[in-house]
Amino acid sequence: MNPHSDPINHMIGVKKLVKRFGLKTVLRGLEFEVQEGEFVALLGPNGAGKTTFLRILASLSRPTLGEVRVAGYRLPIQAAAVRRNLGVVSHLPLLYGDLTAEENLRFYGRMYGVLELKQRIDDVLALVGLTSRRRDLVRTFSRGMQQRLAIGRAILHDPDVLLFDEPHTGLDQDACDMLDRLLREVAGQGRTVVMTSHDLARVEDLASRFDVLSRGVISASAGRSDLGGKNLLDFYRQALAG
């Protein structure tokens, strides 16, 4: 991880982030930096605050204290600008079951003001492998297909930053493999990705960097090369213990 301190050059820059829900403090002065093009896996036990943190980065939740910058814009003041550059996939599909795949994309395309929408929808459907199902209602899709369409929705407006919150949840082996192929392709286009996950084995192959969120702060961070001979699982356990 590059320790450059100027936040402008980071795709994501978080300083001293505190998040409280009423009297309960979930994030305690979290520091986090991601360079353009990095694929960061955010690990941590349940309830550690991964989803809370991701929601703050996604501009869905406001920080209590601290500074958060995404794609060069400050949150929450410049939230609209951030949203234009952000694609989010959560474990809920964020898709309308009574609309077709195509209609879902058309809706989101309009909400984001995507130009040449028709062409873009065709391209995205091809990328996620759902062209043949474009006129089918989303509620007939399997969970795996819904996730793929969700990724399509997330990249429709060509954002620089992608946030994934446990995208493998509820998928079987084949669907996971397909998802991973898609993730690699989408991330490989130079985008910056932050993904939370419980599935260490999967994440080990996908990410270029591994951060552990524990007790409200990032307790450990290591690039793939830094892991060296160590197993990701050991690294993770160590980070939690320390």
Binding site: F21, G22, L23, K24
Partner: protein, 232 residues
Amino acid sequence: MKPQPLALKVLNVVSVLLLLAALGVVFLYAPLEATMNYVQKIFYFHVANAWVGMLGFIAAAVAGVVYLVKHDQKWDIIELAAVEISLVFFLIAILAGSIWARPTWGAYWTWEPRLTTAAILEMVYVAYLLLRQGIDDPDRRARFSAVYTLIGAISVPITFMSIRLFRTIHPVVIGSNPAATTGSFDMTSKMLISMFFALFTFSIIFVDLFWHRIRLGQLAQHVEQLKLEELQ
């Protein structure tokens, strides 16, 4: 918990004394009304309670708006205290009004504008309390409560005006003193004095109860915090 400040302790005593004094004034000093005799005396308390209810209503509305602007939890506690007090005092006012209405108009309840609006306001308050009960997250609870308080604060006066437009059981003269609009007696100067004394007494009682309720709210918040610290 912080012990009661001296001012509050004094206020407690003053409130009780004033209440006793008010009872004395109403029963001993205020003259007996010609047609209604002793029943009329409940009028003083009816008006005073409604007055306190109004104070609470305004306090809640203001607290709600301030919370939305400042996001300080303190204003949420104030808003809740105001709503609770207003609810209870309006209830007493409605009941007192009913007791007064029976011998006067022959029925416990009439769909008279003020009474009906008070009943609707009570329902808004109950809805408010139910809303709060259904939300666990304190920030969301405070936000939603403040929003609903604002909606209610605007809607209820409009409701009052609508009902006035609608029901013409008792011709209402705008701007006249309360007695003429709710009853059929004129007030002598002694009665006026008694009424203002009752209003004053209940205003003091309002401040006293309000203060206590806010302290209670702060204590509850403190307990929540301790609980969370224990769990962590």
